[in-house]
Amino acid sequence: MIPAMPAQVATDHVFAALADPTRRAIFEHLARDGEQNVRALTARAGVSQPAVSKHLGILKHARLVRDRREGRKTHYSAQPQALKPMLDWMGMYAAFWHDRFDHLESLLKRMDQ
């Protein structure tokens, strides 16, 4: 959520994936109720099956969901550990402020008394 912080890329993907309320709902549903296929998810999501598949692709890219093929069906499950970088806001802010402190000290060196 703050540029130039460690673990930023993974966090960006997670935030981007979860910025959409439909994707949040799909992810929350999977996290709460366990593995589902696209058809079951579509019945709950209130959008078309291709739209659900597209959302799942984005969630998968962010490593928030994993897929498992079984015959002609694909089952999706939540990977809540992918949320860790996002939930660890204090850790992110610690890295952020240490970096800013460095910038502050460098500015102070350049400033007149």
């Binding site: 959520m1 703050i2 540029p3 960006d12 935030f15 981007a16 994936a17 979860l18 910025a19 309320p21 949040r24 929350e28 996290a31 709460r32 939540a78 809540p80 550990q81 949320l83 860790k84 996002m86 939930l87 806001w89 204090m90 802010y93 610690a94 402020w97 240490h98 800013r100 402190f101 910038h103 502050l104 000290e105 460098s106 500015l107 102070l108 400033m111 008394q113």
Partner: protein, 140 residues
């Protein structure tokens, strides 16, 4: 992830070989703040609403909404720090030492319950994060 919200604070402290007056300028003059922190329209006036602006990234507009809460020249500065549906409090404390200044930054109030209820309704984020914390509760 399960500690009471009120106890959650981040503290960073450093000794700096500069007088408090000089550090105070870096902390409270907009163009100087921009050099080490972010673009801003800060004014050293209690009650002044302002924002820090950073480069937007997907899922975050880069804006931090703030209000000046405490101004004690050369010693204490406090402002709110609101972004992504969560408001925290940032407090700077400057203490003169023999060789310069002890600089202490405390950011507190991470995810308080009342904030979650208020901002969550506005952004739809905090409730989600609360739910996810419960689901991800087993993660270290």
């Amino acid at each position: 992830m399960t500690e009471p919200a009120a106890s959650r604070a981040l503290v960073i402290e450093r000794e700096m070989p500069h007088p408090p007056e000089k550090i105070w300028r870096a902390l409270t003059q907009g163009p100087l703040i921009e050099e080490w922190l972010m673009k801003n329209d800060f004014q050293p006036v209690v009650g002044h609403h302002f924002s820090f602006r950073s480069t937007p990234v997907p899922g975050w507009n880069g804006v931090i909404d703030s209000e000046v809460l405490v101004i004690e020249p050369n010693s204490r500065l406090s402002y709110s720090w609101g972004t992504m549906g969560t408001t925290t409090l940032v407090t700077w404390t400057l203490t003169p030492t023999k060789s310069g200044t002890h600089v202490r930054m405390e950011q507190s109030g991470f995810r308080s319950e009342e904030d979650a209820a208020y901002k969550g309704a506005k952004y739809g984020w905090t409730k989600f994060i609360g739910n996810m914390e419960r689901i991800a509760g087993g993660l270290d």
